[in-house]
Symmetry: C2
Subunit: 654 residues, 2 copies
Amino acid sequence: MSFDYKTRAGQEFDRTAFESLLKQKKFFWQSFEPYGGTKGLFDYGPPLETLEAEVVNIWRDHFIRHEKMMSLKCSMLTPYEVLKASGHVDKFADFMCKDPKTGEILRTDHLIKDVIEARLKSDKEARGEKIEEAEEDPKKKKKQSKAAKTAVKLDDAVRQDYEHLLATLDDCSGEDMGAIIKKHDIRNPTTNNEVEPPVAVNLMFQTQIGATGKEPAFLRPETAQGQFLSFQKLLEYSDGQLPFASAAIGHSFRNELSPRSGLLRVREFLMAEIEHFVDPESGKKHSKFASVREIKLPLLSRHVQTGGGSTPTEISIGEAVDTKLVDNETLGYFLVRIMQFMQRIGIDMEKLRFRQHMQNEMAHYAADCWDCELLSSYGWVECVGCADRSAYDLSVHMKRTGVSLQVREALPEPRRFEEFEATLDKKTAGKALKKDLGKVANALEQLTQDVREKLCIDIEKGPVEVAVPEMEAGKVELTKDLVSFAKVQRTETMREYIPNVIEPSFGIGRILYSLMEHVYWTREQDQARAVMSFNSRVAPIKVLIVPLQKDKRFDPLVQEIGDRLDEESLSFKVDQSGVSIGRRYSRNDDAGIPFGITVDYESLEGKGFTLRERDSTKQVRGSMDEIVNAILSMVKGKTQWTDVKLPLFESKDE
Amino acid sequence: MSFDYKTRAGQEFDRTAFESLLKQKKFFWQSFEPYGGTKGLFDYGPPLETLEAEVVNIWRDHFIRHEKMMSLKCSMLTPYEVLKASGHVDKFADFMCKDPKTGEILRTDHLIKDVIEARLKSDKEARGEKIEEAEEDPKKKKKQSKAAKTAVKLDDAVRQDYEHLLATLDDCSGEDMGAIIKKHDIRNPTTNNEVEPPVAVNLMFQTQIGATGKEPAFLRPETAQGQFLSFQKLLEYSDGQLPFASAAIGHSFRNELSPRSGLLRVREFLMAEIEHFVDPESGKKHSKFASVREIKLPLLSRHVQTGGGSTPTEISIGEAVDTKLVDNETLGYFLVRIMQFMQRIGIDMEKLRFRQHMQNEMAHYAADCWDCELLSSYGWVECVGCADRSAYDLSVHMKRTGVSLQVREALPEPRRFEEFEATLDKKTAGKALKKDLGKVANALEQLTQDVREKLCIDIEKGPVEVAVPEMEAGKVELTKDLVSFAKVQRTETMREYIPNVIEPSFGIGRILYSLMEHVYWTREQDQARAVMSFNSRVAPIKVLIVPLQKDKRFDPLVQEIGDRLDEESLSFKVDQSGVSIGRRYSRNDDAGIPFGITVDYESLEGKGFTLRERDSTKQVRGSMDEIVNAILSMVKGKTQWTDVKLPLFESKDE
């Protein structure tokens, strides 16, 4: 890591120890391990699968239920035609370079970045400059001085060139990258072979529907397209009223060329996407905006980034929208709701920021775009994209299929206006133009009002020329007896328009990974005692039951507590192995169980049980009812540990 | 329908009206409609998507939480090798016939069934026999008598032949079906063209991982394989102790050749699968079996089916296991838990049965298999399969990969035994056998104890012959100085075995469709007033708020009730349109909202609200607290409507 990343307790984050804990506790692993494993595919074990389910349920509650969104489940298999229209067939691609001797496929941007970074590092070593990560570690320092002997110093100009190149790599086209590879002699670092020029490779998984070979299809790269194609159903469901939002939680696929970074960049991933449909003429106001106006967000504007800054400003969403930093109320409202969702699931608010897209990062049609980024040991990672997709998607599908994806709305008052009309005389024009009549009629319909107005005057003076692209000659000469131009009165009672779409799109896997890093820390007194401080709402298991010792007399009470927790649908685990109670708590703290109930000898005398809170290790004492009710209320998020008013209990065991 | 199917209220089930309701209320529709739609793929709209989420959450609670199963999420993309080993590449196929003139692909069994059924129907018409479905409908009768004129009467022998053919079609191989097509001149019914012979077509969707073309993959046809390949992780998670169960809720895919029957046979579907791993020598006992012994299930045994019967017997699971009707306690326990799950989500218990597989329906390795079938207007449909997969899957993957998928267990006491050992004399044998030494050593290791014992005696008399398949000669002659056979003492302290697997596998989409049919009925007084009687736990929306009339004075109270329901995470809908309150209730009854809260003029005076129950249309009156608490308790499944002790309220509006 070339930046400072600390645990919630302010400790240096040790990714090796963290990953080893995740592995040991079976949070996740590479899929199909007995077959050697498949890169970019992961299985979730019991703790992470349950965590995902809890987080998804909170998402459902926070967005779908609370905001009255229309939930949808659309198909993952998607016909070719749909993704051709949406632009994914042509543009959803990464550039790759092939090593012609080994057949190895390298992602072009990764290749350039790796090689240039290695050269810069070598240059630093040659110049005897400190390399950040080696700063504190004497072992690494030794390694560094050794490396310095084989290091290559660069010209100052080259060094500057390289640094500029890295900073602008994201904006490069395939051609640009090809030129960089040639110019700087970039080769496959593992073989030192020259590589072939970059080729765009589509990132969708292709397949066939049916057995005829006539239905090529892809696995969807996003859930959004299915929602757009359901637009007319949604509009009917909302009785024709805008705005409304649909929401889909489902898997999407991306055939990464060389997956890296564990759970952060995978080939199969769960998304939760909202499509909020608005009237573009409404100013994208939001009816609940007033209720969130004063809430402050850490916003990193395009302006600050352009100036080289990376520190977000805390600013109320009201001010951000008033000053047009955030484009509109709806976008602003969603930014607040996204932050509140992150808070609810236990994301560290110090490791969250909203970053505005640079102009060249956005799609050409987008009005504004903010990413909710979470800081992990991999750096700041986009976990939610919140973009204004304008009317782009609905328009392209409507154009391709001819099916209306518009809203039809009665105007509050009929709109009266005048316009110039061109009318062909059927008899004379039919005779004169014969088979070209239709083509000429089409061409006249395409004329703008300005042109019609001019022709209306000109034709009085003599024949006029009209462009007819469909005819061989490309134009036609028309006289007064064939066509007339006149000003007419019109009345419109309906308005038709294609809605704009604001889309908050959540990558659930990335959020889960960041969350796991954010809740991880180790107890001061003992480095080995790791804790996963999941809040009680998302914690995979809610309660640990521990009998004080291995003693059959405790069994009926353990059973009774279990039955009682079952009644309340609270998940629990019993640890009645022979090891000390302190050790049993410790080894379950790192699984993230927030509450422990101890059954001891006083419990046998009807004197209640102790309830222990994981993070503070504080214990209180109460009856079964008192304890279960306290837990239930905390799991529902209605109360906190500090609200529990039961007498403190001093344990001798921790 | 050729059988009697009634709604829960005992009415004839009108599938046309039912489907039109589902369409109007946006339960589901064919995916990608603007592009003409894709067969076998469906989108779920808000009511069905939410219903699915509620049912899945109950499943999680009922199985994963309550039974302490290890939940898993495995990848959908699955490498070729995995599905080759599991047998799916070779055997997961349907037969199809091609119409060579049109290129149309027909599923062979459907083709034969359709043509033969049409001929039998035509025969019945020619004979003037009643056709069941036309019985009551005068319009159909007319059509029938018209049809009779073009009807073709069959020979009695042919008719019998056809009936036998239909009854045994499921057991036919591809070759058998090819013969039937030839013998009975079966043609494509829409073109009357002869069809090509049946060809097996694999039903998996194929794709490629990465860009090298070296990683062919499929979309999984079941979630099970991912669970089997995670076996060692699960075993570690359970500290090496069996039995345990894993569970996965996820999508699987089946590239149906010609999808039919709406949601019942689709190309992309949600499954919930449990893999319960047991020691095959444990007798497959279940620790909780005693708690369910007395529970009765409707069991349709293999024996009854063989005798032509189709009526299940109500029998306690204890008796069923004792009499070996159900193979073992674990299988029996799961059958009960499946039934209880169906009860919890609101399946009509009169439309549920467990059908035992016939011997030829089961995989060769399966010990016993029961399907939980639900009755819908499509007939009895398998919704849960509950099979004993024995050690089959773990064995094939272990064989293919060489990775242990076994349990290693310390024996309670060391096992001492004697066995015959063959020992080659390294010096003399090395000289005599040279490069064949290893091959001979392998061959000796493969010898059974009986053979070794015999050789031990024979070799004292002279040279003995041992088969060595790896050698060119296929055998070798060995003398006393090269090899010795002797009886030795052995002690074993560990036992290694591959567990058996009992697998309850749920098709969530089929369950949801059956549930929708089971809860549908119409009010006696008015055919058009359809009701969807979802129980309050699964109902997509829990509460309807209706102000008595359009009157701004009601708004603050509507808002207050909404806020209160929000606090309790109860979903609600407000219907404040101008139509009568009766009509507003009615049009929400068919969306399945179980409870209605009316805000009336007495509410304005602080005299509470009415609470209406959808099925009975009964109303009671209470304060906001009383009403919200009553609803909350019913939604949690803790109380019923009959437990609500608030004063009755006589409405004049329904």
